[in-house]
């Protein structure tokens, strides 16, 4: 009787032990499998989110371009046309007015105003839709931009490029042009610089743009982490435009002043 009692307990211990071991194995297995699955899900979700953000950004940039095109067209068609007509009328008026009269003075002032308005409208139109870009390519368009800024006498621009006159795809040229435009605008608005150096070199695979000003520089970190959504946005825009070119954009503000922006792309373009 004692024997069977013993066997009973022995069996119980054995069953208990095997049971616990199986449970432990099951838990571990479950854990490993489940954890992997959850992680995979999480990664997929993040991937989707990143793609969405990218798409949104591109859509917004595209709509910006569309707006600009529209405004440039309206400027040219409506305002430009009217200005031409005003100019014609003014020229005709000249015949009917005696020189050295008050009216003649006012007419001269009007002619000056018209001329400056025409210049402004042209400048705005060019900024919005650089016709030179389409017709003559990126280098010429940038050259023209630099010329215009040089003429304002606010600062000097030294533009250097080392590119055979190849052309990038139209969208890429426009993107790069916008980046450079934005960089000029930022410097003009914030940097209080007196000189800008711009170096552009590209071919279908590589891209190198170095933009340097001798202004006050800025603190990249504070700008990027700024709670004010508009402040970091300009930087983000530049970075995402660079991304569209499959290039990387980096800032460098050395302690003794100035700002240097590098846009680099190495290797094959992946469509």
């Amino acid at each position: 009787m004692a024997q069977s009692g013993e066997l009973g307990v022995g069996t119980m211990i054995l069953i208990g032990t095997v049971g616990m071991l199986l449970l432990a194995m099951a838990v571990i297995l479950f854990f490993v499998v489940y954890q992997r699955r959850l992680l995979a899900q999480q990664e997929k979700l993040q991937e989707v989110q990143t793609q969405q953000q990218k798409a949104l950004l591109q859509a917004s940039l595209q709509s910006q371009e569309n707006e600009r095109r529209r405004i440039a067209k309206d400027l040219h068609d409506e305002v430009g046309a009217n200005l031409s007509t005003i100019n014609l009328f003014t020229k005709s008026l000249e015949k009917f007015i005696e020189p050295t009269t008050k009216a003649s003075q006012m007419l001269d002032q009007t002619k000056t105003l018209i001329a400056s308005t025409v210049t402004s409208v042209r400048a705005i139109s060019k900024d919005l839709l650089p016709a030179t870009l389409d017709r003559f390519g990126l280098i010429d368009a940038i050259g023209e931009l630099c010329e215009r800024i040089n003429q304002t006498d606010e600062l000097t621009v030294k533009f250097e490029s080392q590119t055979p006159k190849e052309r990038l795809p139209v969208a890429d040229e426009l993107t790069l042009f916008r980046i450079i435009q934005e960089l000029f605008n930022n410097t003009l608005k914030h940097a209080q610089a007196s000189e800008i150096q711009l170096f552009v070199h590209y071919n279908t695979q590589n891209l190198k743009v170095v933009f340097q000003d001798n202004g006050v520089g800025f603190d990249v970190a504070t700008l990027q982490n700024s709670k004010d959504s508009t402040q970091g946005l300009g930087l983000k825009n530049l970075e995402s435009r660079a991304q569209m070119l499959q290039a990387t954009l980096s800032y460098h503000c050395p302690p003794d002043g100035g700002t240097q922006v590098n846009i680099l792309r190495n290797g094959n373009v992946s469509q």
């Binding site: 022995g10 032990t17 616990m20 432990a24 954890q35 992680l39």
Partner: protein, 221 residues
């Protein structure tokens, strides 16, 4: 007769292996001590204590001196060290004072048990069983925390994964054996069988510790 002699020798070998199986992780712990993060250091302390206890137990046994009192002390130390290792991993996820309180209470209960209930010459089955249950709970809690936080990508490269698995397997497998150890000690055949199972579990769990410690050399935590 022949079978029993063979069994005895084989078991003898197994006992030697299981006793020395603590050496491997203990050595690794010694070599890689500097590279370990704080929780793993507590595991290292435990391994060294375990090795010392095994050596002491062996010599006592050779000299026919009862070595069970060592076990009473060892259980308290083992739980405190492993518990503290878990505390260092879990204190942010679970209430901060939970594990330290459990360690203190367990130590207290274990001492009470050794003095009043299961005197020092018997197996302290109550204490051991409780220790096993608590460590199983800690191991499961750790897995739960890993699932909830989902920070780790390659689990099998993390030392703590292996150590935790080893702890789970060993302490759940040996639970029933420990509960019944006082019963078993009077019945030789059954006792031998059970302790063979325990020996395997012990070897497995030390191997897992060793794997875990080996991985800590890359300082992946």
């Amino acid at each position: 007769m022949l079978i029993s002699i063979f069994l005895y020798t084989w078991v003898d070998a197994l006992i030697d292996i299981t006793t020395s199986s603590t050496l491997l992780p203990a050595l690794l712990a010694l070599l890689l001590f500097k590279k370990q993060n704080a929780p793993l250091k507590y595991l290292s302390y435990l391994l060294w204590v375990a090795t010392l206890v095994e050596i002491a137990a062996y010599f006592l046994a050779q000299n026919q001196i009862p070595n069970l009192p060592l076990l009473h002390v060892y259980v308290i130390i083992e739980f405190a060290l492993l518990g503290w290792m878990y505390q260092l991993y879990l204190y942010r996820f679970y209430p901060k004072y939970l594990i330290p309180v459990i360690i203190v209470v367990f130590t207290f209960l274990s001492i009470l048990n050794s003095i009043f209930v299961q005197k020092i010459q018997t197996f302290n089955t109550y204490a051991r069983a409780l220790e096993n249950l608590l460590l199983i709970v800690f191991a499961l809690s750790f897995f739960y925390k890993l699932l909830k936080e989902l920070k780790v990508k390659y689990l099998e490269k993390k030392p703590i994964f292996w150590i935790n698995t080893g702890i789970l397997i060993y302490f759940s497998g040996s639970l029933f054996i420990f509960i019944f150890s006082n019963f078993l000690v009077k019945r030789l055949a059954l006792n031998t069988q059970m302790w063979i199972i325990h020996a395997f579990l012990n070897i497995v769990h030390n191997i897992f510790y060793a794997i875990g410690l080996w991985l800590s050399r890359e300082n992946s935590e």
